[in-house]
Amino acid sequence: MDTLNIAGKQYGSRLLVGTGKYKDFTETRAAIDASGAEIITVAIRRTNIGQNAGEPSLLDFLPPEEFTYLPNTAGCYSADDAVRTLRLARELLDGHKLVKLEVLGDPNTLYPNMLETIAAAKTLVKDGFDVMVYCSDDPIIAKQLEEIGCAAVMPLASLIGSGMGILNPWNLQIIIENAKIPVLVDAGVGTASDAAIAMELGCDGVLMNTAIAAARDPVLMAAAMNKAVQAGREAFLAGRMPKKLYSASPSSPTSGLIA
């Protein structure tokens, strides 16, 4: 069976999804079910103290027993903050080691700060975490993150939340060719064809949130993404025909034509 292997664990789905920006938890759950995702990202934030102690939480709708949680460091702008956040996440999730590291460099573009990301990755790997790392689509940086011991590299297709699709397929191809660890596209996917293209390029998986949550019908888009990732993967495995400007080889027989 064709599985996604990350840090020694196998997953049937190559689509990873975020849990933010949904109307409510019911919609979150319905979209995630439609996506078929097994790995879901969560953010770590201060708990509401006081008035809202009794209100439902994300975990009530998405029990950690049913999914592989991927706690992220969204909103962190320094290596120290990211490491601190993920240590809290590990405590929160009973020693859970698989994490998504992202260290941002700019609040407008949400472009990653790779110097801080690399510093955090080193600390986290040493500390025993399995680090899936959000990064720029720079092949040298991706290789360095692999050498540090990250479990997967996750270059952006385009900026977080932009929905601009894959802006530099050539860099992604170089990253994929050079990598011995899984490469997942994280951020920038806007619609199903973007996800399919990422998979056709040979990505091991795709991580997305806004493309589903900001669709007019998130549950339907989640189903579309589920199919797109599978279709793109199968097309990659099948090996596409070469592109030619034209071909003197029609699909129907050239003999037996009526005269």
């Binding site: 975020g18 201060r46 708990t47 103290i49 994300l58 992220n72 969204a74 601190r84 405590e91 806004t210």
Partner: protein, 68 residues
């Protein structure tokens, strides 16, 4: 009286002694999945009952929320 800063907000407790477990109960968070950091150090869940808080401790109490 014990003065604490919890998630950035000052709080006072009219007691002589307060453990992390008692604080969690007082805040109505018993049974919730959360992680607590005191003055930058994580307090493991297994130590909540023994961990005695001191005045001016800074606490971060966090949970998992939706995110991408």
């Amino acid at each position: 009286m014990i003065h604490l800063t919890i998630n950035g907000n000052p709080r006072q407790f009219e007691v002589q002694r307060l453990t992390v477990a008692e604080l969690v109960e007082h805040l109505g968070l018993t049974g919730k999945r959360l992680a607590i950091e005191r003055n930058g150090e994580i307090v493991p869940r297994g130590n909540f009952a023994e961990a005695v808080l001191n005045s001016d401790d800074k606490l971060e109490i966090v949970g998992a929320v939706g995110g991408g």
